[in-house]
Symmetry: C2
């Protein structure tokens, strides 16, 4: 784990600092999306709010994480699969938001369907947000 984190940072030419390591660990631990607030809480407010913002921004720019749109005005961030090649833009994603536990995850193996747009429209990226019950919450 430690090593995995360091590799990611090195590969992206980022210096290895406490906050970056800790935040990356969080993403690796919980395979799901995190909001800025989650991160602050789970790091025990050890890092300044500004640092968390900036760290997320850096990760976004480097393509280490991507952001997920939600309808309730909260931005979620999730780790990108590390086998993304150079040219990969994380364009097409299917995200699943569980209505019960609130967990959000990135369904990497579900393909984004083709969508027929009206004449004159050209698309560059498609995001799909699926709400429902996740595997774990569907047992009851």
């Amino acid at each position: 784990m430690q090593e995995a984190v360091q590799n990611i940072l090195k590969k992206n030419q980022l210096s290895i600092t406490g906050s970056r390591v800790r935040i990356l660990e969080l993403f690796l631990e919980q395979q799901g999306a995190l909001a800025h607030g989650d991160i602050e809480r789970r790091t025990g407010e050890k890092f300044d709010r500004v640092t968390v913002y900036r760290t997320l921004q850096v990760f976004l720019n480097k393509g280490i994480i991507h952001s997920i749109p939600t309808s309730d005005n909260s931005v979620l961030y999730a780790l990108c699969k590390d086998d993304c090649g150079e040219g990969h833009h994380h364009d097409n994603h299917v995200h699943f938001v569980c209505d019960k536990c609130g967990n959000t995850l990135c369904l990497e193996d579900v393909t984004v369907p083709a969508i027929r747009l009206p004449k004159g429209y050209k698309f560059s990226q498609i995001q799909v947000i699926v709400n429902g019950r996740c595997k774990d919450c569907n047992r009851d």
Copy 2:
């Protein structure tokens, strides 16, 4: 137009007030999505910020408008087609966000494609956000 606005309000058992009428008009004029800030600006700050928030909240509850998830942490609102029946939940929407002009619109006539979820997952609602160039911005 005046009449259309009043009909919508009456149908939803809402009293006809200045802010509600004006905000509904805005939505009808521009067939596209509006952010809270847009509304404040376009009404010339005539109404209190709180009133705008509350008005949008009421419209949301009544199902007159719906909210659109965006990746940049801004909530957009768009009018629901008024021919929505009672049982209609505005569940499945395709939204188009133009990368150039920023306009966001609700593609009502594009059907949301079926998505195959992994085992154990059940969905209740699917939203699709398409980024790209809209009809008007595609001319150049």
